[in-house]
Symmetry: C2
Subunit: 480 residues, 2 copies
Amino acid sequence: MSDVRLRRNEICYVTLLFFLNVHTVIGVWPKPQIVATSMEQYSLNPGNFKFQYASNSAAQLGCSVLDAAFKRYYSLIFPDYNAGPRDRHHLFEAKPYLLYIHVTQGGCESYPNPESSESYKLNVSTNQAELRTETVWGALRGLETFSQLVYQDDLGTYFVNKTEIEDFPRFQFRGILLDTSRHYLPVEAILKTLDAMSYSKFNVFHWHIVDDPSFPYQSRTFSDLSNKGAFHPMTHVYTQTDVRRVISHARLRGIRVLPEFDSPGHTQSWGKGQPGLLTPCYRGITPSGTFGPVNPATGSTYKFMTRLFKEVASVFPDSYIHLGGDEVDFTCWKSNPDVRQFMQKMGFGNYFTKLESFYMENIVNITSMLNRTAIVWQDVFDHHERCSSQAVVEVWKGGCYLCDLRRVTKAGLRVILATPWYLDQPGPTHDWARYYTVWPLAFKGQNLGALEMLQFEEKKNVCCVFDIHVSAESKGLLKS
Amino acid sequence: MSDVRLRRNEICYVTLLFFLNVHTVIGVWPKPQIVATSMEQYSLNPGNFKFQYASNSAAQLGCSVLDAAFKRYYSLIFPDYNAGPRDRHHLFEAKPYLLYIHVTQGGCESYPNPESSESYKLNVSTNQAELRTETVWGALRGLETFSQLVYQDDLGTYFVNKTEIEDFPRFQFRGILLDTSRHYLPVEAILKTLDAMSYSKFNVFHWHIVDDPSFPYQSRTFSDLSNKGAFHPMTHVYTQTDVRRVISHARLRGIRVLPEFDSPGHTQSWGKGQPGLLTPCYRGITPSGTFGPVNPATGSTYKFMTRLFKEVASVFPDSYIHLGGDEVDFTCWKSNPDVRQFMQKMGFGNYFTKLESFYMENIVNITSMLNRTAIVWQDVFDHHERCSSQAVVEVWKGGCYLCDLRRVTKAGLRVILATPWYLDQPGPTHDWARYYTVWPLAFKGQNLGALEMLQFEEKKNVCCVFDIHVSAESKGLLKS
């Protein structure tokens, strides 16, 4: 008898939890790892709500990241509230509701890195809430979650329910790519995108800053790149001050800025300001007047790239640099007698993928010397399986991207998945739901059955990127 | 005969210049020191106009101040122009009009100081213009002037006339004061004010950041000052990040940020977050529950002020700090037995101005130790003629402000004039023209007749402030 009663209680309990979970899914997005919520609700008076550093927190007032976040989130949580002198009397008499912030590490002036913990624990109860994290970046995620828990009734009163949340990101690298070459974006548009990213807990702004159509990055070292390669040399450029502003705005939201300088293809705009950089294409035995990818057969190319990436590494604090390497068209290289001669000298035969790999290896080496981890588009891996073990491979091609993920991770390389999240390609039926039904880890790792893989996901920092291109860096954990 | 002819030529020449000057006054504001212009006009094609660092300029691409200014001024000069890919063909075929910038000193990452030269020479001629300056700050002034020379005809074509300008500021200190205590101003509003200041070549943003009604500055050292003293502790505050943003935005426009922490009066809001700082007022022999100015009779006050100003000096890079010192009401001090006892001990008798001077001397000493020049409102000078020779006195009171200027400069002190430029006081007839008919130097210096004084103005860097309060710092040049 007692056994039966116990079971009934258990069933009730499970039902209740299920009901509450439904409520939670509506409330917080992306869904936190563990949520326990209740119907117990507390009304919040904007006038007596306060963020408060816990006394033993490593971050205290003066912490640039969190002080700024408190001000921002206050207005996000209470969008229709404006305190004025007339509210003050009321404000200081009501019992305060405090959200205590406890950060165990400091790092308020640091820059987020790929290993930064973003986990947090949030406990919302009577008269106070507690947010406990290791880093300020985790605190930002927790503040975002808290802001999404607050709601208003029809009369405009603010409420929050009793809630316990433990959360950490499933993937360490959650990116959005913006292409500012095909279409120049004003700095304000980029800053707004960063704001939006923070609401969905994205943490990497992949800045595809230059490409064929234009070169808007204003280089200190090579002024003509933007002077001649931007859509306009004065208005359609990113000055050093613009770049700093983007990086600072991103940092305050726990977002890394990953710059991409794609080569040797996608560089038509580079050629305008850097004569001799691109390969002259030939029609028969005479130059046709058009240019192909970067010329991989001349030393001046590598000298130029060394100086450019030295500058890039000094301007962008992120430990990663994206080197591109996609869609290299070999037609022009094939037409050029100097390139063909170089091929012969290097013993590449007619394998232009070998020339491409030679070029990319040199560029990866340049960025390695600058203590930067290189990311390359999957083409580099496809054409050269023994690609640098340092590099991270970004999968973007259609077809079987899960097969690609398997191949790359099997080779011991870390991978970022972009293919299923090209926002300009919602398909002919404009099926936006498609973006939400991706299973980035649904490929067979060596000797790993489906069950082990699920556990794997929960335990390890397997990384996933959501770029307008991009997603899923597995940190090589799925390798054999 | 030849003499007569010569004279006729002279008369023609003078007439021409007069005519041209009329044109110029319309064009550039404030009016440059020397302008020679002509009816010869050049059409400007936005698509082929460029700013260009002269090859031997100390500032080159990568100069944060000027790179950002070029981008800003391009849009200010050609407000209705938007380059797109379709314009590019045209853009690079037309003959370019180049504005060459030549800066003899560098200092692109520095902060403007009271001695920074802002002079510039601008020469606009066929196919190119030249802007020659000592500093990047002077270059900013010249860019502003150039932008004001460009005009559009009815068809929208842009023109600039052949022009030569030599310019330098008459006064070294040209300020605008914003009061963010009586009314909290969002950071965006402050940034817009800084933009507007740059159009009129103002160079000091006097930030009257705190006062009786509220304490919006979020101090790292004393968090309760804004927590309890701001109109709202989360939304109506200036975080450290906000302050940095204001300083950076100002720097890029050649504007210094002068912080004012006014005491011992005007500090009601300070008392909320710093118990014991203000003087408890008495009714007879019992405290009335109200508070007066900062308590000058206790050591804890000076300890607090030392820590506060240490922070202020670390946050605000400007070499000046405004210490206030205006409108101290002695009623509360008189009522307090501890203050009266202190007066007796110090031998001040019943002279509360002596107590006020004692307090201000201590505060000026604190900021001197921090290598900061103090500015005080004229009350401090009025009550204590042997006021620190380090301090600069700001004249704000009505009545004969020219008399005040004379008294202060005669005492060998530098002075800033504010009185005639209170923007909230255009008089009962709302006579705005009044602000433009001020003669800040029309007072007699010792042994100087009117004629010498005019020469004086032209030769020396006599400083004038245009605050919402404020204007005219004479650098002690008019002292005996």
